[in-house]
């Protein structure tokens, strides 16, 4: 008789059902939230930009709206990692925003080549600004001879440094690898973290390799990408091994902050901004974030990160920054194209480039370039700049593999040959 009063499974299910439904409903609501993605049929032009381009894109949209009373827009931004996912999900579902961020060249699931191959981008080739794209950058904008994205220019990659920290340690900007090691040593002895590294944020992991590879690979083998495409070169048997060994040398000498794999980009940014760390290897497009993190933004400068002891071999990475494209399924494609045509005007290109600290795509007359970028201009002029490596990689798997193997190396769970073997395997997979 007493046993009949014990709780049966059905009763238990009733008891927990309420909690389950509540928890499930909360999840379902959050999962289904923000479903207002389809924007193309009416209302303002829906735009999603890359977070690093916010200042320039917002200014261009605001200025265009002032000049066109019938124009309105709904603008939002997405961090780099989310562009790969949220926006791609919208593209797959057929409800992408009218105007959205796209990575130049190839090598990412959200890159111009991958999306144009899937017929998801509108052809912009008829616009006059496309004729002014420098020959060396056409691969970033064009696929099969058609232009699919607009980008305000090129971002350079180097060391963003805190001048006060350098002054405290009594060191100058290094121009060779040996000088860099010496500078880091002196900074460390002064109790200043030489290089802030936020490798928990995946895209940050690649930057030191990207800074070193132009010197260890491309200065000696400028056609390295073509050789990789032809299958006559590999990461493992190239200067990539030298670059990764140097990356690890910096770690072994204690020139990074403690626990880089557990440190985020934001934390690393703050360390340099406040002078706790002396420098961080970064793209110029994020200079604004470093300035915001610093009580004295004018104390921040930038210099090319030296990869070798031969000054002539120290090339720099300089890639076209994240661009914008018109969704092929947009019902407001004409309106979006007109805005992009406006963006292609030289004064708009200049203003946008200045706002995001990059070198303008082209200029008529004197271009306004952020003063901290001046050390990089001679490299661009002398054709010693190499596009960001991923822009020539054939599929979207190499870059995330690079992120992962660098984290494994920093965590002591892999070796340089094993890491490069994984990258080679990812490279050889079909696009």
């Amino acid at each position: 008789m007493a046993l009949e009063r014990s709780v049966s499974r059905r009763r238990l299910l009733q008891l927990v059902g309420g909690a389950t439904v509540t928890a499930g409903l909360a999840g379902a609501l959050s999962a289904c939230g923000g479903g207002n993605g389809s924007s193309s049929s009416g209302g303002p032009l829906k735009v999603i930009g890359a977070g690093s381009q916010e200042a320039g894109l917002r200014k261009a949209l605001d200025d265009y709206k002032k000049a066109h009373s019938d124009f309105d827009f709904n603008l939002s931004f997405s961090p780099a990692d989310q562009l790969q996912t949220a926006l791609r999900a919208q593209l797959a579902a057929g409800n992408a925003p009218d105007l959205h961020a796209v990575y130049p060249g190839n090598g990412s699931a959200m890159s111009m080549v991958q999306l144009s191959k899937a017929n998801l981008l509108t052809d912009l080739s008829s616009q006059s600004w496309t004729q002014k794209i420098p020959t060396g950058f056409k691969g970033a904008f064009q696929n099969d001879g058609k232009t699919f994205i607009f980008s305000p220019g090129t971002s350079v990659l180097g060391a963003i440094y805190n001048k006060k920290a350098f002054a405290t340690a009594g060191v100058d900007v290094p121009t060779t690898w040996s000088e860099l090691l010496s500078v880091c040593d002196k900074l460390k002895k002064k109790g200043i973290v030489p290089i802030a590294l936020g490798a928990q944020t995946p895209w940050v992991t690649q930057l030191i390799d990207y800074a070193l590879v132009p010197g260890t690979v491309y200065a000696k083998t400028p056609d390295f990408d073509d050789k990789m495409t032809a299958g006559s070169a590999s990461f493992a048997d190239s200067g990539w091994a030298d670059a990764m060994n140097k990356y690890l040398e910096l770690q072994k000498k204690g020139f990074f902050n403690d626990n880089p794999n557990g440190t985020t980009y934001e934390q690393a940014t703050s360390m340099v901004g406040t002078g706790k760390a002396a420098m961080a290897v970064q793209v110029s497009a994020v200079l604004q974030a470093f300035r915001q993190a610093s009580p004295t933004p004018d104390d921040l400068g930038m210099f090319p990160f030296p990869a070798t002891d031969v000054a002539a071999d120290n090339w720099i990475p300089g890639g076209v920054v994240v661009g914008i494209a018109v969704s092929a399924k947009s019902k407001k494609a004409e309106q979006a194209k007109k805005f992009i045509e406006y963006c292609g005007q030289p004064e708009v290109v200049n203003a946008w480039a200045e706002a995001v600290a990059c070198v303008p795509l082209y200029s008529e007359g004197d271009a306004k370039v952020d003063p901290v970028l001046k050390p990089f201009l001679p490299y661009l002029k002398d054709n010693k700049a190499v596009p960001f490596m991923d822009q020539r990689w054939p599929n979207a798997e190499v870059q995330p593999t690079h992120f992962a193997v660098v984290q494994e190396l920093l965590g002591g769970k892999s070796t340089v040959p094993a890491a490069l073997k994984k990258m080679d395997e990812a490279y050889r997979k079909t696009a």
Binding site: L3, V7, S8
Partner: protein, 310 residues
């Protein structure tokens, strides 16, 4: 007269009877719900499953039939096999520790202590917080700096030697994520065990006490057997939750450092949305679904037999 009328009315609305007696459920009432379920769950699931046999990138219309290539690739994919290992380790840790703590908490707040109602609320509170919020909270707690979060707390109590890079060390990161999940979900297990404990007759305990049974003996011979339905539900829910764990990993480590915290769920997500391999991703999802279903059926079969024995 009254009895006769009742009998007549019963005959008039005579319900279908089960073979073993009792009234059979009116299945027609379930049709609308089944139709909606078929439309929003079964149809998308089966139509999406077809992608597992293609090389679709996830965007655009281009796709080719590749047969079982995606499945063959899956069983030779080091990343997927590593993710399977992580998934199983996480599941075992979550099932054992979460339910162990949940049971202890339930036993603790089932006593006559004054603050038991407050404690029930406190222990259950993390369950109602969004997993993303909990993950960001713990990401802060796991800050690797010696003067922040958990490391600072360890230093303050003289355990500075135990400071760790909780999410950045590949050997520790998986367990840091598991601890966060257990911290959030132990209260959920507690509530289910508590419901089971409420149904254990007090008379049995009293008679056992008269017979001289101690606390441990009473738990072993009375409470534990009668908790069998609660154990079944808790083990089922935590197993399925562990095998499909996604949110906390993406929010805290994104599968890193390296591949140290990747699970089958994060692999299928990355394959679809980062690598642009929707076909392969769907193959991973199908295998995961079949795996979870198989484990669940085996588990519930065993636990039901245990309930019957109890």
């Amino acid at each position: 007269m009254t009895v006769t009328a009742q009998a007549v009315r019963r005959d008039a609305v005579k319900a279908p009877r089960r073979r073993g007696g009792g009234i059979a459920p009116p299945w027609l009432f379930a049709v609308p719900a089944l139709l909606i379920y078929a439309l929003v769950v079964l149809y998308p699931a089966f139509s999406g499953a077809g992608s597992a046999f293609t090389d679709w990138s996830g965007v655009g219309a281009q796709r080719s039939f590749v047969g079982l290539d995606n499945f063959q690739q899956l069983f030779h994919d080091d990343q997927a096999l590593g993710a399977l290992r992580n998934t199983l380790l996480l599941t075992v840790a979550i099932v054992v520790v979460q339910n162990g703590i949940g049971l202890l908490l339930a036993l603790g707040v089932h006593t006559g202590i004054k603050s038991r109602m407050v404690l029930r609320v406190v222990f259950f509170a993390p369950v109602v917080v969004s997993p993303v919020m909990v993950s960001f909270l713990w990401k802060y707690v796991y800050n690797p700096a010696p003067d922040a979060g958990l490391n600072a707390a360890l230093g303050a109590i003289g355990l500075g030697g135990l400071r760790q890079d909780w999410l950045g060390n590949p050997s520790i990161a998986l367990w840091s994520v598991a601890f966060t999940v257990i911290w959030q979900c132990a209260g959920y297990s507690m509530v289910i065990f508590l419901a089971g404990l409420e149904g254990v007759p007090q008379e049995l305990h009293e008679s056992a006490m008269v017979d001289g049974a101690g606390t441990v003996a009473r738990f072993r011979h009375i409470t534990w057997p009668l908790l069998a339905p609660a154990v079944t539900i808790n083990l089922m829910l935590s197993t399925v939750g562990g095998l499909t764990l996604f949110t906390q990993i993406i929010a805290m480590t994104n599968g890193g450092p390296g591949y140290a915290t990747d699970t089958l769920s994060t692999v299928l997500y990355k394959q679809a949305f980062v690598f642009g391999k929707f076909g392969y991703s769907t193959a991973v999802a199908l295998v995961l679904a079949i795996f979870v279903a198989a484990v669940s059926f085996i588990q519930i079969g065993y636990l039901r037999s245990r309930e019957t024995a109890a």
